[in-house]
Symmetry: C2
Subunit: 176 residues, 2 copies
Amino acid sequence: MDIRTLCLGILSLGEATGYEIKKMVTEGRFSFFSEASFGSIYPALTQMTGEGLVACRTEAQGNRPDKKVYSLTDAGRAYLEEQLAEAPRPDRNRSDFLAALLFAEAVSPERIEDLIIERVSLHDEQIALLKAHLKDEQGTVSRFVLEYGLAMQQAARRFLAENRARLTAQPDKRTG
Amino acid sequence: MDIRTLCLGILSLGEATGYEIKKMVTEGRFSFFSEASFGSIYPALTQMTGEGLVACRTEAQGNRPDKKVYSLTDAGRAYLEEQLAEAPRPDRNRSDFLAALLFAEAVSPERIEDLIIERVSLHDEQIALLKAHLKDEQGTVSRFVLEYGLAMQQAARRFLAENRARLTAQPDKRTG
DNA sequence: GAACACATGTAAGAAGTTACATGATTAT
DNA sequence: ATAATCATGTAACTTCTTACATGTGTTC
């Protein structure tokens, strides 16, 4: 999903500034399955304002730079709908972790155990975070999404915990 | 994981040509968690040959362009080890599917059911593929990686199947 | 005879990140 | 006083994909 669609999607849930969008994708409800930087968000919003996909209302506020509050237009809503309808190419399961595991075997097998341990605690962090977010979340779909994330993290953690022994059981080091 | 590291990693498992690497990442054992195009693989290999990270042996073959068989050098192995040791930043769980679900709620709620159905059959495809690959795979770590992928696909499918009703139970459409 | 597998490579362009520029306010 | 939060924006750069260029042999 490109930044434009992501921004439109977020705006479909309510108006927001570029700054707020950034916060949502890095810390908020969207941080679990997306990412974006200022350098892509601001230009995207400016561009889409020019195209009439979003509307921009400026709120003056004393000292700080004026707030630019964006909202979805009808054209933007239609465009978003088009984007979401497009061939949903499968999310690539890109995983540096799995690649690292596979390559570690050839290069530094003694690191495999570390990799798995690190990974398990990473899952624990994510699980805690997701549970915290779940407490605040009311929307049916939003909760579904968080619970989906939670289920995945738990499944991964469980698999690693249960199967770790197979990889880390060191081949007997005694000679003969 | 950038293309360079990916290529080095694949070469750590045995020598290969650029063409073969491309096949492995698009159809083969690596297709489940990585991707790369010719336009990135070939330049990466040429560059790394210049840097001494890989060695290149040319195999003439009649009519076709000469095969360039690459293999990892000691420097390359060391470099790869460094890369794998680096702060394992968490695989981002970027998911267009989840984003689409969330946004569909606001824009075309009637599509939510379709999205989930499409997704479930996508998981079924992946599960079948992974099982097929598992039959041929002998290496302990390789099997582990495939089984991990399988477990994730199955967990996702199960979650969707079990929880689908919560989202697709249409709010009663009768008036009054 | 059309399309695909083999085999390498380049150039143009997309899409994004990082780092900078600016500057007040508030918390530690 | 030092850092973080708020708030926007731009320019340089990285990284990768897409599409092209070239050509044979094999399969449908």
